[in-house]
Structure formats: structure tokens, C-alpha cells
């Protein structure tokens, strides 16, 4: 499945929801299911501090592909991280660097990625791409 296919899948999934609360219910479930990163990996270098919530990102590069693990103290932020990981995990760094993550916009969650929202997500996407760039 390509990165674009994965985005399309999420868009389709979200089209089934009638209202905001259903969307968030789903995001919260994703957040709860996201594997936690080890407490000892929650170091300052992995911390992306937001005004509202904090995010920890642990990136690794193996066999030509990126793997991301991430965590947040806020569950909605964590759920959105879960979506980003679904799309970007196991992709080649070149693909990640040039990717346009339009699905966030398409499912109506763009507000969470605006820099003014200050939940650390906008900086996280930037860091995911930077880490991929380093691996190229």
C-alpha cells in the first residue's frame, strides 16, 4: 500500500462519521490503543513541548524504512499521532520527506496541526520529516 493509499483509507473511514463527537470518539480509541513508548525514552531530546500538550517522538531507520513511535500526555493528540504513524510508518524516508499529508485537512482535523494550536503536533510532523531527511 502506498502512502497515498493509506491516506485515502483514513479519509474513507472518517467519511462514515456523522458528527464531530463520533470522530473524536474514534480518535480517542486510537489514542488509547497506541503503544506507549518506554518511560526511559521520554527524554528531553525526544520531547516536543507544546503550550497545551507535550509530545515525545522516537524515530528509527532500519532496512531502508522509517519507524516512528510517539506518545503524548493528551489522548486526542495521541490519537492524531496514531493516524500520522499509520500513514508514515514503514515508508522510505524519501517518500516521507516529499509527502503531502492532506488527509488531516480532508478529515477536518487541520486545526490540530496549525502552529497556533500549540499542542506540539505541527512541530512533530516537522520533526518526523527532519528525522527522515537525516536518514537519506
Amino acid at each position: 500500500m502506498t502512502l497515498e493509499d493509506k491516506q485515502q483509507n483514513i479519509i474513507e473511514e472518517f467519511s462514515m462519521f456523522d458528527d464531530w463527537m463520533q470522530k473524536y470518539e474514534y480518535i480517542i480509541e486510537l489514542g488509547k490503543d497506541l503503544p506507549k513508548i518506554d518511560e526511559n525514552k521520554k527524554t528531553d531530546e525526544r520531547l516536543i513541548q507544546g503550550c497545551q500538550s507535550n509530545v515525545w517522538l522516537d524515530s528509527s531507520f532500519e532496512n531502508g524504512k522509517m519507524t516512528y513511535k510517539a506518545d503524548s500526555d493528551a489522548i486526542i493528540t495521541k490519537g492524531i499521532i496514531g493516524l500520522l504513524i499509520q500513514v508514515l510508518n514503514e515508508e522510505k524516508p524519501e517518500e516521507i520527506v516529499k509527502s503531502d499529508l492532506h488527509f488531516i485537512n480532508d478529515i477536518g482535523l487541520h486545526e490540530h496541526l496549525s502552529p497556533t494550536r500549540s499542542n506540539g503536533l505541527a512541530s512533530m510532523v516537522k520533526k518526523m520529516k527532519m528525522d527522515a531527511l537525516k536518514a537519506i
Binding site: 463527537m21 473524536y24 500526555d73
Partner: protein, 411 residues
């Protein structure tokens, strides 16, 4: 506006005056509980803004033409009204600023110029960053010492500790009238008296009190009182610094530019008189005029009626919230006003705030620009509902149901 008899306090009628309250957010009736951050504006103020820009727009204090004179007299009339609203001695004591933060910075810079190494400034644990950082900057600049009044777990200032901090070295005490995070109403009259007893001056941060309480600067005997227009139903970008005239006279100008000068040559510049000495450049003219209109709007009512209604709302909300499991109300002073801050175990404020937003309810989440206070409570932030006189019990019922729904989704 009626000058004499006060308008009957009817929330239903007041709500009619605020067009922004009549809108749907995500298909739900807006419930606006973020009044501590900013208030909505009544039609009376909106009309005045429109009137200024569509009819009277001109630069003030220097034009010979009709419009300039009209704008100047509206602006200065507003200053006079604000002076009388605060019961200041004269309108020369009313300095227009950009807002509370600007007013504090002005005093920290300008009054700060009169301080010397080793002088002490007292603030409190519950201050907004705006009433912390300017003093830290001053302390760095002039090698002064910053002291902090501690608070109790319930959110009251420890007054005995305050007394211990006071000494002949204390030059200024800067405290908030009402805490934006806790809602605590501080005993400022006592604070002022005790500071004066050691010869210190007092600045009161009125950002959270001007919209809820009668402010009488002469009765309080405060040396400086600062507030923002946008929290008292006026436009953003304008506020007031009240200062006692003899202090303002002694203080050097804060910024240089037009309007604040008497005579400029390349060798020497002499400064204008109060209040213009502190108002460099073309001011926010519409803002100054319409802040006066906003206070006129509030002044139609008995402020005690406003206070009573808002207290009722806060008590009602706090009582209902207290029944939730794992609920921690942050700020439980016996003397508090229309703010309820809370955090629920295992529920991040950002998550709950997001879910409330999607149900049409505007609250504030986060540290509310009071990080030292969050450190004191060892929490990342709170959810804060802050009420104004246009809010209702019915809105609180909807809010409580929405909180309940949010918790059920998050836990």
C-alpha cells in the same frame, strides 16, 4: 444611556445586546465561558466603533479641522468619563495604554527608573506572567530583588508571610486584584495599607476585576491600577493605567515620539504634560473612545447586581462540578468570583477542552499564563470556565452535561 436611574438587571435583555452570543458553533448554540480571556461586545460599543470610523475618523490633538476636533473631544471626553468611573482625582491620571500588560511594563520601566540596587519588589504566586516578567526584567536591569507572597492550597495569599516580606527596602508591591486562574479576590485594601505603612507603592492588576467589581481608586488608595478594555466589553488593543498624579509627574517618559513632547530640538527635548507625556505616537483613537462607551454600558447597571449574578453562576457551576468523581477544583478561596478552574484525574485539560469546543462550549484550557501557579499545584493546566453577566444557569446545565459526556469518552 440613562444617566440617573439604573437599568433593570435582566439577563435575557442583556443577551439581546450581544450579537456574538447568537450564533451556532458546530451546529450548537454557542456557550461562551471564556470571559476571563476576553468578553463579547455589546451593540452599543459596536455602534460606537462604526460611528467613529464612518464619520469622525481623524487624527487627534493636532488638527485645526472639524473632524480632528470632534475626534479629539470624543477621545478626551472618554478619558474624563473613565476618570470619573474609577473616581480618580483628575483625567490627567488616566493614561491610555495598549492594555494591562502594557500598563505594567510602563510602570516597571518608568517607575523602575527611580529604583536603585537592592530595592525590593513584591509580587505573588498567583500572578499572570504579565505581572511577573516585567518585574524580573526590571530586577535584572536595576539589580533589584523580587520577592513572592506564597499562597495556601485553597488559593489565598498568606497575609502573614506578606507582612514578613515587607520592609523599608520594599519599594513596590504588584498584585492582582482577582486571580485569572483561581478566581480568588485578594484583600487589596489591606495589602495597600500594609505596603504604605513601610513607604512602598502599590500597583493593582485589575484585568480580572474591572468587569466584575466597582473600582474606586481613591477609596482603595492604590498608587497604580491597570486594566484592559477588551475584558470589560470594549475593543482590544486599548487599556488604562491609572496612576497618582504626583507619582506620574516624577516618572520619566516610557517611549519617545509624537504627542509626548513640548519642544524638540536636536540638542534638547522637553516633554509634554500629563497624561500625554506617556502617550507617544498616534493612539488607538477608536479604542479609547469605545472603552469609554463600554464602561458607560456597564454603568447602566448596578454593579452589585452583576456581581451577585456572576457569583451565583460560579457557585452553581462549582457545586455541580464538585459532584464528579476524581474532580479537583483549583482555587477554593471563600472569597472568589466568577471563575471555576478544575482538573479531573487522568483527563488532560486539552482533551476535555477540545470535546467541549465540539459541543459549542468555549472554555480556556492550559496554564492560563500562570506557570508558577501550575508548578505550585503540580498540574499541567486546568480547564477554566469564566462567566460574565450574560451567562445563564441553563448554559451551565448544558456545560455540565457536556463535561460528563467528555469524561465518559476520555476515561
Amino acid at each position: 444611556m440613562e444617566a440617573q436611574g439604573k437599568r433593570k438587571f435582566s439577563v435575557r435583555e442583556i443577551r439581546e445586546d450581544f450579537p456574538a452570543l447568537r450564533q451556532l458553533i458546530y451546529g450548537k448554540n454557542l456557550i461562551y465561558f471564556d470571559n476571563g480571556a476576553t468578553s463579547q461586545k455589546p451593540q452599543y460599543v459596536l455602534d460606537a466603533i462604526n460611528r467613529y470610523y464612518s464619520k469622525n475618523n481623524a487624527n487627534i490633538h493636532r488638527g485645526v479641522h472639524h473632524l480632528s476636533q470632534q475626534a479629539t473631544s470624543d477621545y478626551e471626553d472618554s478619558r474624563k468619563f473613565i476618570a470619573s468611573y474609577l473616581n480618580a482625582n483628575s483625567s490627567d491620571e488616566i493614561i491610555f495604554t495598549k492594555g494591562t500588560t502594557d500598563g505594567i511594563n510602563l510602570v516597571a520601566y518608568s517607575y523602575g527608573e527611580l529604583l536603585k540596587e537592592g530595592d525590593e519588589i513584591i509580587i505573588s504566586t498567583m500572578e499572570h506572567h504579565s505581572n511577573i516578567v516585567p518585574w524580573q526584567m526590571l530586577c535584572q536591569r536595576k539589580k533589584c530583588v523580587l520577592k513572592v507572597i506564597p499562597i495556601t492550597k485553597k488559593g489565598d495569599l498568606m497575609m502573614d508571610e506578606y507582612e514578613k516580606l515587607l520592609s523599608s527596602k520594599t519599594k513596590l508591591v504588584a498584585v492582582t486584584h482577582i486571580s485569572n486562574t483561581l478566581g480568588t479576590i485578594n484583600p487589596i485594601k489591606e495589602i495597600i495599607e500594609k505596603a504604605h505603612a513601610v513607604g512602598a507603592k502599590v500597583l493593582i492588576d485589575g484585568a480580572q476585576s474591572i468587569q466584575h467589581k466597582k473600582i474606586d481608586v481613591r477609596e482603595l488608595d492604590c498608587d497604580f491600577f491597570v486594566f484592559s478594555s477588551h475584558k470589560v466589553f470594549g475593543p482590544t488593543g486599548i487599556g488604562v493605567l491609572y496612576g497618582k498624579e504626583h507619582l506620574l509627574e516624577k516618572m520619566p517618559p516610557y517611549q519617545g515620539g509624537g504627542d509626548m513632547i513640548k519642544k524638540v530640538t536636536f540638542e534638547k527635548t522637553t516633554y509634554n504634560e500629563l497624561p500625554y507625556k506617556f502617550e507617544a505616537g498616534t493612539p488607538h483613537i477608536a479604542g479609547g473612545i469605545c472603552l469609554g462607551k463600554a464602561l458607560e454600558y456597564v454603568n447602566q447597571f448596578n454593579i452589585e447586581d452583576i456581581e451577585k449574578h456572576e457569583m451565583m453562576l460560579a457557585d452553581y457551576a462549582q457545586d455541580l462540578l464538585s459532584t464528579f468523581e476524581d474532580m479537583n477544583i483549583i482555587g477554593e478561596s471563600k472569597r472568589k468570583t466568577s471563575v471555576v478552574s478544575f482538573i479531573i484525574d487522568d483527563v488532560h485539560p486539552f482533551d476535555l477542552g477540545t470535546l467541549l469546543d465540539k459541543q459549542g462550549i468555549a472554555v480556556r484550557t492550559g496554564h492560563h499564563c500562570t506557570q508558577p501557579l501550575m508548578d505550585f499545584y503540580k498540574i499541567p493546566g486546568t480547564v477554566r470556565a469564566s462567566f460574565a453577566f450574560y451567562n445563564t444557569k441553563e448554559e451551565i446545565d448544558v456545560f455540565i452535561a457536556a463535561v460528563e459526556k467528555g469524561i465518559s469518552m476520555l476515561k
